[in-house]
């Protein structure tokens, strides 16, 4: 029996393939590139959210909105320094993916985990 993480990962890949096929059917190569761009745009936030105890659909849905909030904000100011939105976007994506991936690896080795330690006051 494959484990649930394996199945979830394959379900995400299957979902992305369905999206790619729909966009390719409707808008050919531009549609495919668009979905790929959305994927790259949301990926850094997804990897950050992966550090927390959230379920898969939460991470997928939140990642796009978190990227609008954080990735786009960072790209905007950085692009004044790089004088290129393209370069700023790639820099932000690479840096965030690198940091989030490193933390995810540490998390997988149980060396690091965002866990709630707080105990609420009894009412």
């Amino acid at each position: 029996m494959p484990n649930s993480n394996f199945l979830k990962n394959w379900t995400i890949i299957l979902g992305l393939i369905i999206l790619l096929l729909v966009y390719a059917y409707l808008f050919k190569f531009t549609g495919v590139r668009f979905i790929f761009t959305i994927f790259i745009f949301a990926l850094p936030s997804y990897l950050i959210l992966n550090l927390f105890e959230l379920d898969e659909s939460e991470k997928i849905i939140f990642s796009f909105f978190v990227s609008i909030g954080i990735i786009s904000s960072s790209v905007y100011w950085l692009a004044f320094a790089t004088q290129s939105i393209r370069v700023a976007f790639l820099l932000v994506v690479i840096i965030v993916i690198a940091i989030a991936s490193a933390l995810n690896i540490l998390k997988a080795r149980k060396l690091f985990l965002f866990k709630e330690k707080h105990k609420p006051k009894e009412n």
Partner: protein, 538 residues
């Protein structure tokens, strides 16, 4: 199959169906379209994408104070961006990495505007399970008022309202985690990031997120006797909000910001008396968004669905679990926003868009949960109850598609036909101006709706105004028709392509006589498909 896997599949399925439906307006004709603000939201992203540079001060063609006349958006924030840049910057990113100019931005508009389906899915799944969530998401893809604002070009507004269910979800999860004595601060932090995103995209949606939560929080504290405040979480949340928002306050809240004037705006109401509380939409007058259907509920739900809405509401009132009270808080919040004008800063007509975001899930709860539970009073077997649940789910979807869905599908499919959107002739001329005229060129556009003897153009000002704005957006040059520009502009564009398309050569010849005086001694620079661009002798 595990529930997590089913959820992931459901999310992708909803996004895929949304793509098929929401891209209908440009599946066959990919020339730009939309009402007056559509070209503005397009051009802010497009300009950044075309230049691969962010915008702080507005470029000449939309900033303009030309010869002492304010002709652009410069007055809104002293020449700076008057919206936060995130939405338009994301458009630019989509354009830069999708290797095409117009289509990726319209794909982004469609993708982002249809996200209400998956955000509602997430909220309803947690509160009532996967089936009600899937049906709610599915029918919200056809939500008429979301479609209307999307077609009109108010793309950021539609996306910002789509975030509301997520903010409510995140805060509700945070509150529930307190109840379970395992506080999950990540949900509060996510809620703050989402509120920041709403501020960046369209701040009006923030009140729609906060009011239902405020109502529900009071109920939750009284009912559960849990004061869900943790100072550390609150401080971190506020720091997140401050860090994200502080450097962007200057855009919507600059010196001469439009948002500062909103508090002084009053909604058009037929009455400000207590009688408005007896009406569902208060006393709002159908102005502003000039579409009769927009103000009617007949494109939102049919008579056949109304019983389900009532069953849903009665069920929630009778059961009163926390999730039921949350939905009722959302309903009460909508009612208050419709009736208390000081909460909406003169813009309640836009908030009506969110009615379906609450009513559709309520209707689904009525059909799929309430009715089977009401009928189980008669001691029916579990199998029959289950059959009833799925049978009603199928029936509701069918009723919805046949009465509402098909019409709203047609609205998208038939949007902006033919000359109602930019034509190839106008697109080609705009592209030519973008590459051949100086950036600070002033171009006078001769109104192609001027010949009042041509009936099709009578009273058709919005179409011309919209097209003029699109030609400006696509050419990235200042294009206007003010009398100042008629005499002073260096360049003139004579667009006779629509007239030729409707009236043929004779109409074209007639129209051209009217234009002669404007191009006297001018040099013809571009002449293609009945669109001419001239340079006047200075």
């Amino acid at each position: 199959m595990g529930s997590g896997i089913k959820d992931v599949l459901a999310v992708f399925l909803l996004v895929a169906i949304s793509a098929l439906i929401w891209t209908l307006p440009f599946q066959n004709n990919q020339y730009p379209y939309g009402d007056v603000d559509s070209s503005t939201h397009f051009t802010l992203g497009d300009y950044m994408g075309q230049n691969d540079k962010p915008v702080y001060f507005l470029p000449y063609y939309i900033n303009g104070t030309i010869r002492g006349v304010v002709v652009g958006y410069g007055w809104l924030n002293e020449g700076k961006l008057w919206y936060c840049p995130q939405y338009h910057l994301t458009e630019a990113i989509m354009q830069l990495f999708s290797a095409s100019r117009v289509l990726p931005i319209f794909l982004f508009f469609a993708f982002a505007s249809s996200l209400i389906a998956i955000t509602t899915y997430l909220l309803i799944r947690y509160l009532y399970g996967s089936l009600p969530a899937l049906i709610s998401g599915l029918i919200l893809i056809f939500s008429f008022r979301d479609i209307m604002w999307y077609l009109a070009g108010q793309y950021p507004q539609v996306l910002s309202f789509a975030i509301v269910p997520l903010v409510i979800y995140a805060v509700y999860r945070y509150m529930q985690s307190f109840k379970e004595k395992k506080p999950k601060s990540v949900y509060l932090y996510l809620a703050m990031i989402l509120i920041a995103a709403q501020f960046f995209i369209h701040p009006q949606a923030i009140i729609t997120s906060i009011l239902p939560l405020a109502i529900f929080s009071i109920i939750f504290i009284i009912r559960e006797k849990i004061f869900f405040i943790n100072i550390k979480h609150i401080v971190i949340s506020l720091i997140i909000l401050f860090v994200l928002v502080s450097s962007f306050l200057q855009f919507p809240l600059g010196k001469s910001s439009i948002y500062k004037d909103l508090s002084a705006m009053k909604e058009p109401r037929s009455s400000y008396g207590l009688d408005i509380f007896m009406k569902w939409y208060g006393a709002l007058e159908p102005v502003g968004f000039h579409n009769e259907d927009y103000w009617s509920t007949k494109r939102i739900y049919s008579n056949l669905m109304i019983p389900f809405i009532f069953f849903g509401a009665i069920y929630l009132v009778l059961r009163r679990k926390n999730q039921d009270l949350l939905i009722l808080s959302m309903l009460l919040s909508f009612y208050l926003l419709m009736h208390l004008s000081f909460l909406t800063a003169g813009r309640a007509e836009r908030l009506i868009e969110t009615e379906a975001h609450i009513i559709y899930p309520l209707m689904v709860i009525g059909a799929v949960i309430a009715v089977p539970n009401f009928i189980s009073i008669f001691k029916i077997s579990k199998e029959i109850k289950l059959m009833l649940k799925y049978g009603l789910a199928v029936a509701l979807v069918l009723i919805f598609i046949l009465t509402i869905g098909i019409n709203n599908y047609k609205t998208l499919k038939e949007a902006y036909p033919g000359l109602a959107r930019i034509t190839q002739a106008q697109y080609d001329a705009s592209e030519w101006m973008r590459t051949n005229l100086p950036e600070e060129a002033d171009i006078y556009i001769f109104r192609n709706d001027f010949p009042t003897q041509l009936p099709i153009f009578q009273n058709n000002f919005p179409t011309f105004y919209t097209k003029k704005k699109w030609i400006q957006a696509l050419s990235l040059r200042h294009v206007d028709w003010n009398s100042q520009d008629a005499t002073n502009s260096t360049y003139v564009i004579l667009d006779m392509s629509d007239i030729y398309a409707v009236y043929g050569q004779q109409g074209f010849n007639e129209a051209q006589k009217e234009t002669d005086s404007y191009i006297k001694n001018a040099t013809l620079l571009y002449d293609k498909n009945y669109v001419g661009v001239y340079k006047r002798a200075q």
